[in-house]
Amino acid sequence: MSSNIRPSGVFDTSYAQDIALNRTRADKWLSNGLFLLLLLLPLLSSDGPLGLNIVPTLWIGTLNRIAIFVIAVQGLNVLTGYCGQISLGHAAFMAVGAYTGAILGRQLGMTFWLALPIAALVTGLVGLIFGLPSLRVKGFYLAMATLAAQFIIPWLLRYPLEPLTNGSRPLDVPVPTLFGISFAADGAMFYIIIPAAVFLSLAARNMLRSRVGRALISVRDNDIAAEQMGINVFNYKLLAFFVAAMFAGIAGCLAAYNTNSVSLDTFLLDQSIAMLAMLVIGGAGYPLGPMFGVTLVLLLQQIIIPSLIPPLNNVLPGLLPFINSVNIYAALSPLIFGAALAIFLVFNPRGLAHRWEIIKIAWKLRPFSH
């Protein structure tokens, strides 16, 4: 939507400029600058070689987790946001990537750099299989069919594949290395995870602005018209499932190597739903949606709510005597989280990315707002 509004005084002189991501030199400097700044952060933490302690290491770990989920939710955005197919099995696809990567690295001693693409491919193929019902069913019924993935995959990993996966117990994952450099610290993993997130977000963005992206959106907006305008609707639905699962697989594999352990209970239905929530809050169908949604939800879950609980703990026992101060965190955090999400959705039903576009338009049009 913002694409039709230009900063005052900026005119496109060619179609090439019109389709560029950064239309002006200032845009380009800004996005490259932000990326460079991001890459500097670990150097300023205590993990860095300079021994500085300007950026807390905790931040680096949080940024890694955010970036991993950005990758997974970008995939979900391709499937749900662009192609309009709902999936309740996204966390299960992450599990496939995590376990494939872990097993390849552990049992076969394969290097991380090979395990990652193989995990991505395997997960993509698994996603393709669970996308097959989209040939026949849509919407709510498809959501139910993808729910099957969310039950079957963890079950397979827990019981029949137990000799490989360690079942319900966590599985250790080796540390990635490259030319003798070990990526054990958060500050080191940062240099794998952040470029991967940026690269895959750009890939999704590029897909959106070309032939494949328009075909996916055509399927979402009007599958009957799309089919009669020369688009093989079923192929594109399967492609969306493949890409979504592949992104989830990469995210899962990165998560496994980031924490050096995999455990099934991080890939259950609640996680699938959390990722859908991240997508909707951020803005489904917007390239920036995953970034906004994941950041907001993870900051809320990991930083804002935990810091709210202690002060609440002082007031609440008198106010709500049924809440035991021992498990106050478990009692309150889902409550606050749910309420925060509900409030966000009431005020931003189309997501933060949509709000962001409105703000950008207002900013670009200044000083001529009419």
Partner: protein, 258 residues
């Protein structure tokens, strides 16, 4: 008797939905570069006829031939690749896209980028974006849509949405254009514009056009031949003047002015 010279041959198709017989043994041909109008009262089966030509409906008997080739077994997207494009009676645009992207989406069959080259973008995908954008801009100019190119089509007026839909069909560069009531619900000025566009397309591009239209005045002005259907049967076929005098047609439209 296959007329291989014909652009389109609807060969005695019958289509039923449960008990409803939407089309019964309907057959006619459309020559290269011809404009044929299909008329008939509400529920006569006109839209079902177009849907059978595009492959959205599967007639139980009969065949559809394009340039003499039997396309009856082909799914809709393959028929579009062979050069059949349509507009819909109840506009079926990609609502959340811009007018430009709706047209670009119809360039699908002329483009090559796959998921991988699209994701990389630089190189093939970018080059073909620019080349196809040029084709689309010609259509934008022709249909006088310059000022709405970047508007989200869901926000456009009814008349403009109909125009974008015509543009989308043209962007596919069809050889057979099917228009389902392109002027319904428009005001006089919009109707005149649309009629002018259709005649222009026909004259300049020698496009073969089948159009459904209720307004007999417009049918007279635009079409070279008319096929009339009623209750799923073809009741008459001929020049507009012959059709106006035809007793079956007059009976079908009894009490209505034609």
């Amino acid at each position: 008797m296959v007329n291989s010279a014909a652009k389109l041959h609807v060969d005695n198709i019958s289509l039923g939905f449960g008990g409803i017989k939407a089309l019964q043994n309907v057959g006619f041909t459309v020559g290269h570069g011809e404009i044929v109008a299909v008329i008939g009262p509400n529920g006569a089966g006109k839209t079902s006829l177009i849907n059978s030509i595009t492959g959205f409906y599967r007639p139980q008997t009969g065949a559809i031939r394009l340039d003499g080739v039997d396309i009856t077994p082909l799914p809709p997207y393959k028929r579009a690749q062979l050069g059949i494009a349509r507009t819909f009676q109840n506009i079926a645009l990609y609502t959340n896209m811009t007018a430009l992207d709706n047209l670009m989406a119809a360039r699908h069959i002329h483009m090559k980028a796959n998921a991988f080259t699209s994701a990389i973008f630089y190189g093939l995908a970018r080059r073909e974006e620019i080349a196809n954008r040029q084709r689309v801009e010609e259509i934008v100019d022709f249909l006088e849509m310059e000022n709405i190119r970047k508007a989200i089509v869901g926000n456009l007026s009814y008349g403009l949405r109909k125009r974008v839909e015509l543009g989308r069909a043209l962007a596919l560069e069809p050889t057979l254009l099917l228009l389902d009531e392109p002027m319904a619900g428009m005001n006089v000025e919009e109707k005149e514009d649309m009629a002018r566009f259709i005649l222009d397309i026909h004259e300049r591009q020698k496009m073969t056009i089948v159009l459904i239209e209720h307004d007999m005045g417009l049918v007279m002005d635009i079409s070279q031949r008319v096929v009339a259907i009623d209750f799923g049967r073809k009741i008459a076929e001929g020049t507009p003047d012959e059709i106006k005098q035809d007793e079956h047609v007059i009976k079908a439209y009894l009490g209505q002015e034609i």
